[in-house]
């Protein structure tokens, strides 16, 4: 009995770790041949947003390059804990990966610390524009305000109640620039519209995010938008209430509720990843900044499949896209 006493909790913990590990990284090593890329992501690859956008891009690049024999791809997801992420980066670099992507602006300090120890490995991090002046660090970012502006134009034309709700976790990074662009798009179309914003302070509290969306709806909003991983809660609420529309960002969120997702700004990292691989193979290991824009097809507006968008709204959106591309419209003043 005494023996059980000690082993029982340990056993449980081991079970837990086992369960965690099974869903975790699937790194494989092979001596030489394929180009090897590792990605460290804060949330799950199925988050319908930020991490998923990078995961899908990697899969697409891999398919384009000719499968696993040409591009080997390993990833660690759910790395909310920054020290864990730093350890994972160091592991991948030690295993000889050619490019280690730290997919989160919170990982900057970790990249700064790890990169100098592995001069032959390229590191990339985003979303940010700072390469720390290191020769083997790339930075990448998304001009999220561009799609935000386009979504804002459409939202302003579609709202009946003249009230729009924004839900988000924390007011930083591309979450903030998206919303700033969105506000400007709305204001440029109809300055009389009220925009309410709530921040839940948590990237994972779906219940509170859902209630925030309910609060907006109760406060009169008939259109919702927002950024980040836990935005699915808001869509759930909007779906339940009926008659409330949603604009997405980071990934195409139409599948969650086809009938109410008007449009999503989609991040397409394929071009950025391909560029970085090409630079590495050409001997440039870092020092450059990549930005997703409408103009370089890194950002796309995906119109909802189950929602019939009025033609005038669609043409206004296309006009806004063209204006942003040619520089006549500035999403952020």
């Amino acid at each position: 009995m005494r023996k059980h006493l000690r082993t029982a909790p340990v056993l449980l913990t081991l079970l837990a770790l086992l369960a965690g590990a099974c869903g975790g990284a699937t790194a494989t090593t092979s001596p030489s041949g394929p180009f090897r890329v590792a990605v460290v992501m804060p949330s799950a690859t199925t988050d319908m947003a930020y991490s998923q956008s990078m995961f899908q891009a990697m899969k697409a690049v891999q398919a384009e390059m000719g499968g696993e024999s040409a591009l080997e791809f390993a990833w660690s997801e759910g790395m909310f804990n920054v020290p864990d992420a730093a350890a994972a980066m160091r592991d991948y670099a030690t295993q000889g990966y050619d490019l280690v992507i730290a997919h989160g602006s919170q990982y900057g300090a970790s990249v700064q610390e790890v990169a100098p120890d592995f001069p032959d490995t390229s590191f990339a991090w985003g979303t940010n524009v700072d390469t720390f002046g290191m020769p083997n660090v790339f930075a990448y970012t998304a001009a999220a305000e561009e799609g935000g502006y386009v979504n804002g134009v459409m939202a302003a034309m579609l709202t009946q109640s003249k009230i729009i709700g924004i839900t988000g976790p924390v007011e930083v990074g591309d979450a903030k620039t998206y919303i700033d662009g969105f506000r400007n798009g709305v204001a440029a179309t109809d300055p009389s519209i009220t925009i309410n914003a709530t921040w839940t302070g948590s990237f994972s509290d779906v219940a509170l995010m859902t209630e925030a969306a309910n609060t907006h709806i109760a406060a009169g909003a008939d259109i919702l938008t927002g950024s980040s991983q836990s935005v699915v809660g808001s869509i759930g609420a909007a779906k339940d209430k009926g008659g409330v529309l949603w604009f997405g960002t980071q990934a195409d969120q139409a599948t969650l509720a086809p009938e109410l997702v008007v449009a999503s700004q989609v991040y397409d990292w394929v071009g950025v990843v391909k560029d970085m691989i090409a630079k590495h193979q050409a001997g440039t290991l870092g020092g450059e900044v990549f930005t997703l824009r409408l103009s370089n097809d890194g950002l796309k507006i995906a119109y909802g499949t189950g929602y019939s968008l009025p033609a005038d709204v669609r043409s206004a959106a296309e006009a806004a896209i063209a204006g942003i591309k040619d520089g006549s419209i500035k999403p952020l003043p």
């Binding site: 913990t13 869903g23 759910g78 921040w199 219940a207 609420a237 599948t255 509720a257």
Partner: protein, 310 residues
């Protein structure tokens, strides 16, 4: 600030607060039973996650919300009995085994979600049911009687739990076993059986708490859906002084302040969101510091029972 105290806003706060309180109520009432019998189960959050996933998975694949709810209850029971086995039969340190159970639930629910569902999907959950007559009451009807069945269930569970604990012979055994197991044992009460039953019941209610999240309130599942609500529920048990009514008060306070701060963000944009978000936690800490009366704590909480060790 004044616009916060208009009738529609207060109604909205009350309505949201009641919804938000639902998972806390189920989980904390279940934990109340476990703790009153002397078992500290810190794994509530892990059980909630498994309950949330089971309910979502079954509802998604069978289309039956009731089957989903039953699945959550069964999975919760099994998790509760696992905790009972480790902490009562094997007499493991309960604080540690509870954390182990939490990690187990977190890891397993994530793994199962990825392998069986894969991506975030939404379902149509329990819909609000307007109660006949009561739902037509002005004001009160809007706040209290237009919720989903699981919300009503949580609030009905409060007097039921009180009745069981304070008015039944089984409740008397629970209270005795959590306070002075040797005394109960000396009167022929089966201490082990009572503790197993209470920990199992706690598991069932934690499973239902998870289900209330995934198939009634948010209508989806994602990894770590609860984001620590189970731990708040454990804190609410302390806050409520191990009494169902106290737990109700704590759950409502926490949820109403949360609902209030969301409305504050909408209506008082000049207020920093960071400060608003902190409100419920600040208030909880303050209330815990003031309200928690340790003398109500079951004296045998987290202590394994060994016959003859008086």
């Amino acid at each position: 600030m004044a616009e916060l105290f208009t009738l529609p806003v207060l109604l909205g706060i009350a309505f949201s607060g009641i919804r938000l309180a639902t998972p806390y109520l189920y989980a904390a009432l279940g934990e109340t039973f476990a703790q009153r019998s002397g078992v500290l189960n810190l794994g509530v959050d892990g059980i909630m996650l498994m309950g949330a996933f089971s309910a979502f998975f079954v509802a998604l694949n069978t289309g039956s919300l009731w089957l989903g709810l039953a699945a959550a209850a069964v999975v919760g029971l099994l998790m509760g009995l696992l905790m009972a086995l480790v902490s009562i039969t094997f007499k493991a340190e309960q604080g540690i085994s509870g954390i182990g159970l939490y990690m187990f639930g977190l890891g397993l629910s994530s793994l199962l979600f990825r392998t069986t569902v894969g991506t975030v999907k939404t379902i149509s959950g329990f819909q609000p049911v307007k109660l006949p007559l009561l739902g037509d009451l002005p004001i009160l009807g809007d706040i209290f009687f237009r919720h989903s069945l699981l919300v009503y269930g949580a609030f009905l569970a409060v007097p039921l739990a009180w009745f069981i604990l304070e008015r039944t012979t089984w409740g008397l055994k629970i209270r005795a076993v959590g306070q002075q197991p040797a005394a109960a044992d000396s009167l022929g009460v089966n201490v082990t059986a009572v503790r197993y039953a209470c920990t199992g019941l706690g598991g069932v209610l934690a499973g239902i708490a998870g289900a209330s999240l995934s198939i009634a309130l948010t209508n989806l599942f994602q990894e770590n859906l609860t984001s620590g609500q189970g731990f708040i529920a454990v804190a609410l048990v302390y806050f409520g002084g191990w009494r169902p009514l106290g737990v109700l008060g704590g759950a409502l306070l926490f949820s109403f302040v949360n609902a209030f701060q969301l409305w504050m963000q909408v209506l008082v944009p000049e207020m920093e969101a960071d400060i608003a978000v902190m409100l419920p936690y600040l208030l909880t800490i303050a209330a815990l510091a003031v309200a928690v009366n340790r003398t109500r704590q079951p004296a045998a909480l987290a202590k394994p029972f060994e016959r003859g060790e008086a």
